[in-house]
Structure formats: C-alpha cells, structure tokens
C-alpha cells in the first residue's frame, strides 16, 4: 500500500539524499505543502529511525546520504534466469512486515516467485515474536515466496542454505568479516549484522509454501537497540555503505537459484560450506530453550545441520533454541 504520505516522504528523502542542508520553507515550496506538513513528515521519519538533523532557523539535513530502493533498478540487475523466475518484485515504503504482507497478499501456492522489499517495517519480526528493528532506508528488509509441490527432503537445512546464500553475496560484494551463528544469524565482530526467518506452511508430507525473510543492517546500527546482542552494519565493515539496490539484486539472484535447486542440493557440501562461515565454533555460549537455558562450548553443526555443544563435558545436539555468546575472558 503506497499512500500519499509515503510518496511525499519518498520525495522528501530524494531531495535530502545529497546530504545538503535544506530549509523548511524551501522543502515546503518544492513539494507544494506547508512548512508544518514538512515538519510533521520529518518527525514521522525520525520515529522510523531515519537520522535527520535540524539546525534552528537553517533547515534539515540527513546525517547519511540515502539512496532509496527502486524496484525497476533491482529488476534490471537480475540475471535473465532469475528474472524469469521472479513473478513480481515490489518495494514498499512503509509496511508492517514483509513476511506477513507476502503471506496475506498471496494464497496457497500462489506466492511462488514473489519478492517484497520495504524501506521500513513497523512490525518486523524475528524468531518467536522477537522484534526485528529496521530503521527507515537503513537496511534491506526482504521476503521471498516459494512453493514446493513436495516438501524438500531436509527442510530444516533450508535455513542454513539461505544463510550460505547471503554469505556468498557478501563475498561477491567484498563485504568481509561476517560469519554465521547457528542456524542462520549473521554476525560480524560478535555483533548482529542480519537475520533470517524462514516460515513454512503445509500439511504433513504435502505441498509446502515457504517464505524467506531477510533483514540486513546497512548503515542503521546506531538506531537499533537489541536486548540480547550488540548491533553492527555493513557500513561499519566496509567503511561505506554499498548500493542497497545492487545488494538486494544480488541477494535475489543468489537466493532464487538456491530455492530452486534446494530439493536436489547435496546437503553434505552445503553443510561444509556453512561450517566455513561458522563464527561460533569453539566459543563459550548460552543456548536458550523454551524450558531451560544451558551454557557450554559450541562444537559446530553435525551432518544433519543440528547444533552440537559440549555441556558439562557431554556432547549435546539441539534442533532449536537461541544461542547467545557469553562475554567471557
């Protein structure tokens, strides 16, 4: 849903995007609205996490230059093979959660190949109701819909496969220093850089719909506070933010092919690649389960993609649970 306010805010960002200082009167004239309206839109975008500085009597200025996501640009950067497999590609300015909207917009089996991005999510979700905070125009929030007539043989490892796909894209863009925390959290220097939430829906052994949700912090870490983790962003790793449009296109190129090939994928080599990105192996960590919390040492992932930890001198295997690193010397 793109409202009149969304389009005005987009135009406002376009003007401010060069990092210049613009007076309220100047912006009001350019957009043909009142100065009060400008001030209200600026205030709203600030609550969405966009850092807009204001100097009394002088005007407004973006702290960081911002390039907005453009569906047309992203589409033009897709490989021909992927472009043919993407049924629709849409960028929303402001939405609740791209996973939710994708699932609401498309019924059973019809979400296949649809890609949805958003500049801002008011109800971004992580695992089990955890919030996913994504400041306006400072991250990539994307959901891909896929349908399998038969459930893939190792459905759980899809979670790891998507994470491997994201790491490959980072490699293509020269983004170094990131790694994975089981099963698919993206970390760099012990701080959270991104997350993946895969949702599946289907009957036992029947057709299955998959929604892959991805959130990556681009230059927004300063605006994010998480209860469990410190936060980082791509800009902190590379010194400057990448083109979000290019990064989004590369992610779609990689992940669409990953989803397409997943049922035939050789799980052993996928897990081997995943292990190469493991940034938790050997570390002291705490795993939180619904009924208990255990502390121990991360051993790695087993041949089924499950987490192995040494707890009280005993090797234990976990199918789920949330790991957090223990800050210890």
């Amino acid at each position: 849903m793109s409202t009149r306010s969304d389009s005005l805010r987009k135009r406002l960002i376009h003007i401010l995007a060069d990092g210049g200082l613009y007076s309220g009167a100047d912006l009001a004239r350019r957009l043909n609205v009142s100065r009060t309206a400008i001030w209200k839109h600026i205030r709203h975008m600030r609550t969405c996490g966009l850092v807009i500085e204001s100097a009394r009597g002088r005007g407004y200025q973006l702290r960081q230059t911002v390039g907005l996501l453009q569906a047309k640009t992203i589409r033009s950067l897709l490989s021909p093979a992927v472009s043919g497999r993407v049924s629709s590609l849409q960028v929303l300015f402001e939405t609740t959660s791209t996973n939710d909207v994708l699932s609401e917009n498309y019924g059973r089996a019809s979400l296949h190949g649809h890609v949805l991005l958003a500049e801002y999510q008011s109800q971004g979700r992580g695992r089990r109701g955890n919030d996913w905070i994504s400041p306006l125009a400072g991250s990539i929030n994307m959901s891909l819909g896929w349908h399998y007539d038969m459930p893939p043989q190792h459905p759980g490892c899809l979670s790891l496969a998507i994470a491997v796909g994201v790491m490959r894209v980072f490699g293509q863009h020269g983004i170094a220093g990131a790694g994975l925390k089981w099963p698919n959290d993206i970390f760099a220097n012990g701080r959270k850089l991104g997350g993946i939430l895969v949702e599946m829906r289907g009957e036992n052994a029947g057709p299955v719909d998959v929604i892959v949700g991805i959130g990556i912090n681009i230059n927004s870490a300063a605006a994010i506070r998480l209860a469990d983790d410190e936060v980082t962003d791509i800009q902190a790793l590379t010194g400057r933010p990448p083109s979000r449009n290019r990064l989004a296109a590369s992610l779609i190129n990689e992940l669409v092919m990953m989803l397409e090939r997943y049922p035939e994928l050789e799980i052993g080599s996928l897990l081997q690649e995943w292990r190469g990105y493991d940034c938790a192996r050997g570390r002291k960590a705490t795993i939180r389960l619904p009924d208990r919390t255990c502390s121990g040492q991360v051993i790695g992932v087993d041949d089924h993609g499950l987490l192995q930890m040494r707890i009280d001198n005993e090797l234990q295997t976990f199918t789920s649970g949330q790991i957090s690193f223990t800050v210890q010397n």
Binding site: R108, R127, R128, G129, P151, P155, G156, C157, L158, S159, L160, P183, N184, I196, L197, V198, E199, M200, R201, G202, E203, N204, A205, G206, L289, P290, D291, G305, L306, T319, S320, G321
Partner: protein, 154 residues
C-alpha cells in the same frame, strides 16, 4: 452368545479405536459398531439372535446404547513431520491456534513446529473437532509423535 462375551467385545472395540466388529459363532453372529459423535462415544450393540443371552426381554433385534468415557478417542491423528519444538500459539502471549472442542477446517493452521529456526506452520489435513492435544507448548517433539486427535466430520 454369552452376554459377558458381548461386553468383552464392546471393551475390545473401545480400546482398539476400530469402529465395527462382527463375530460369528455357529449360527449366531454379533455385530458391534459405534458412531463417533463430537464429544462422547456411543456404542450400539445389535444382537440379532438374543436367545437366553438377553433375558431382560425386549424386541428382537435389540439395540443397546452405552455411554462410555471419551478416552481413548478414535479419530484422525496429526503427527509431527519433524523433530522440533511444539508451539501452540503464533507468538508468546498470544492465544493458541486451536484448543479441545474447537472445529478446524482442512488447511487451518493448528500449531507451529520450530526446527533450526524454521517456523513450520502445520495445517490440519482433515475437517473436524479437536478432541485431544497431545503435547504442551514449548515441548520437544519427535518425528511421528502424535500432536492432535481430530474427530472427523462425516
């Protein structure tokens, strides 16, 4: 046929979850069938040749209706397609997807199973009434473990 034998057969039927059995002994035969209703189990006993067995009188054939405990309840069982954690609700603090006595349609989500951070929304493959929830929220489940029993709508 001995009334005790009939009684035994009824018990057998209740334990097994089978909906109908027929036993022939010489020229006598007994067919016991039961129809499952939403909440209670009704057992119809039809004895074609009563003879001395049912001395209580009555017409021939005699239909006896017995009310029995709803457990163990026959019905369709939804089993876990994977090893993971069972969640009864979409998110912590929210009401469960389904509870006992609730009618579900084929395709309705009945629970979420989490494994390796994949949130798997499990759909009911039948239409009927939830008669039992076998696991509790946050419990670890194994492959093939019963999650729900659903009494199917005929």
């Amino acid at each position: 046929m001995d009334i005790r034998k009939v009684k035994k057969l009824i018990e057998l039927l209740e334990e097994s979850g089978v909906s109908e059995i027929e036993v022939c002994e010489g020229e006598e035969s007994v067919r016991i069938s039961r129809q499952v209703h939403t909440q209670s189990t009704q057992t119809h006993v039809q004895v074609p040749d009563v003879g001395a067995a049912l001395a209580s009188g009555g017409t021939n054939p005699v239909a006896v209706e017995l009310q029995s405990e709803p457990q163990p309840e026959p019905g369709h069982i939804i089993t876990s397609p994977m090893v993971g954690i069972f969640y009864a609700s979409p998110a912590p603090g929210e009401p469960p997807f389904v509870s006992v006595g609730q009618v579900v349609n084929k395709g309705d989500v009945v629970c979420v199973l989490e494994a390796m951070k994949i949130m798997n929304q499990i759909e009911s493959d039948v239409t009927g009434t939830i008669s039992r929830v076998h696991v509790s929220n946050g419990e670890a489940v194994e492959y093939g473990q019963p999650l729900f029993t659903i009494t199917e709508v005929e």
